[in-house]
Amino acid sequence: MASQETEETRQILSRTALSFPSPRVVHDLLSVGVCPRCIFRLFGVHGQAYCCSAITASVLQSFLEEQKSCDNGTAKNGLVSDGLVRCSYTSQESENGQAYCCICLGVLQLACEQDQEMMTTSKDGSIDDFTATIAELVKRENHHIDGFSIEVSIPPVIVANERAIWMYMNKKYKCEEWFKDKIPSQHISVKDALRLSINTSLENHLGVKSGVDSFRFRLNYSHLDASRMLQSSLANDRTCKKQKTDKKDSGDSLDDSHKSNLKNSNEHLRSESDAVILRTLESMLDHAFCEHFVIPPEKFSRKVSQSRWIIDDERMGEASVEEIVGSNALLVCKGDNYKFHAAGREDIDVRMLGSGRPFLVEVSNARYMPSMIDVQLIVEKINNSDKKYVRVRNLKVVNSQAWTLMREGEAEKQKQYAALVWISRALTEEDLHNISSRKDLDIIQRTPIRVLHRRSPLERKKIIHWMKIERIAGSCQYFLLHLCTQAGTYIKEFVHGDLGRTHPSIGAILGCRAEILQLDVTDVKMDFFD
């Protein structure tokens, strides 16, 4: 059996060697400490060479030795020796420490912390073991997947390492013919090489094919020491263009400004660099699976805010739309977290009636994709909950296109409201006419005082498309004002005038004081979700 494997390995190596410039170059790289897969990458090798776990540095070494002797005309038997054969270049492997590739730092060698004790016997981790662990995790978390794709994140220091090797090769071989041909663009990135290595094996373990836009694996690699060294070396290099410094007062002495330069640059780098946790398989697998639901919900209570409202650790309002909908969706999809996105929002004391407002729920790390029936289940749970705070309809699973649609709608669509208004004198027929005759009324609103603490002080032009007064039987000073406005209009301020900062206001139009008691949203014109 062993010989069959080695025969296969040999064949793969023979094919691969066609891409090599010459055995001594490969020798050289191996001696410098580059791992086989990195060597394959640098010379643009594709295909099975990456999946073959048996190709260790020593195996490659021996193969090349054999090739050399073949070239020299000396016949040797064709068996590729297994990893136990040592030769002078690879003697360092048996020692700990220097066993990792000097470019990819072991990423393509699939070695991980746990293997350290086993370093001497099986230096290059088997691809199968690696992917088996990944598959294990998927099973444990009970994910149901129909495909996968792999995302890889590697520390920038690897790029720096590769560059160093290129510069080394450039210095040594720049006059040689093959070097000019092998332009760097031919080489394959570490990320692609990793994918080539583990794709097929993963497909076998998981029983599904890899493809875009499916379940995504994120492999986060980081190397604390190497990254730190890189950071400090970059910081010391003052010619590095990445530094951005705040303009300091001219009063600073030269020394001070240099110091602040370095300090800023260090922080800048720290925030730029990738996650610096030591590479361990277990904690590094990071899934991100998003689902989207779109529903127009109706909010029936004036005690429910859109999102959780907490001031000083105390919850304001009794509940929130976000929580009611999100928690139910989370339960059914068996996810970790949810995010709630709506096409606009209203104050806690405003009811959302009529057709409702469209929104999106994003469930992250969902382990289960709900079917139509499950979706219906969510709707029922929400609608039939005790307090009947929120009602939803038209719930379905959507893709990311819906997101764009919703965001567009938020800014463009018109909204319809019904407000309970009181004025300081009796309502007349003329008033009704006055109000309903104004079409597309332009108003200017300064940022309302109630939000001025967190929004920019601006003057915003808004349009009131139409208005209609509905008398209330039994009262001459109260009436219902129906109006349709541009998105982003502050209705309350339009009614009472916000101390004159919204002009014209209902009070100004009718020539008296006007107050608003109740506000309800009756329609949000975004029908394309139906």
């Binding site: 009636l353 009529g354 009181w422 005082i449 001025l452 002080p457 916000d498 107050e515």
Partner: protein, 200 residues
């Protein structure tokens, strides 16, 4: 014969849809319309509902009564209280000038969410001068904080002070730091105490 039956069904269906829509409309209306008996004859004003009203009586000078309306978010609206001497003058207020020597307060422009370029003032800093019956009265900040906005409408329409000094005739909006507010809060009068003091 069959055709007419189909027509009938179609008509019925469309009628049903219309009825359903009307029903939904009716439901909506019933939600919107209030119960008359729940409505107060005079509801609280926007200022009353959203602000807590404080007053500074005889601020730095006798008769200079000013109000500080504080919103739940911490912003303070400053203005002339109804018992301010300027409002009692014959002819009322005739001019408002935000140029108080050091700078023209109406010139400043505050931008951005953090309002970093707002000017900081002490409680006794001058905001503007109001002219009534030939006399100039200085209006001050009353609260230490950043000046966010002045009511520049007063420049063109000083009469707003005579008609509604407590609403459209406000002088300025100031944002005090929480610590600064706590210090000054106790020296101000509540609405009740102010009315008692002035015998209103």
């Amino acid at each position: 014969m069959e055709e007419s039956k189909e027509d009938e069904t179609l008509e019925r269906d469309s009628l049903e849809t219309v009825e359903k829509k009307e029903e939904a409309g009716e439901d909506l209306r019933s939600l919107l319309l209030p119960d008359i008996k729940d409505l107060p004859p005079i509801p609280p004003s926007a200022v009353e509902s959203n602000f807590v009203r404080y007053f500074a009586a005889d601020f730095m000078k006798p008769g200079h009564d000013q109000y500080v309306y504080r919103h739940a978010n911490g912003l303070c609206v400053i203005g002339l209280a109804p018992t301010h001497v300027a409002l009692r003058e014959k002819g009322g207020v005739t001019a408002v000038d935000y140029n108080v020597g050091k700078s023209d307060r109406s010139e400043m422009k505050v931008t951005g969410k953090r309002k970093r370029n707002a000017q900081h003032f002490e409680s006794n800093s001058a905001l503007c001068k109001v002219c009534a019956n030939g006399t100039f009265y200085v209006v001050r900040c009353c609260v230490k904080g950043s000046l966010l906005e002045v009511n520049d409408r007063l420049i063109k329409q000083p009469d707003l002070l005579n008609s509604s000094a407590d609403r459209e005739g406000y002088i300025a909006i100031i944002m005090p730091k929480p610590a600064d507010w706590l210090k000054i809060k106790d020296s101000l009068l509540s609405h009740e105490d102010y009315r008692k003091l002035r015998g209103l």
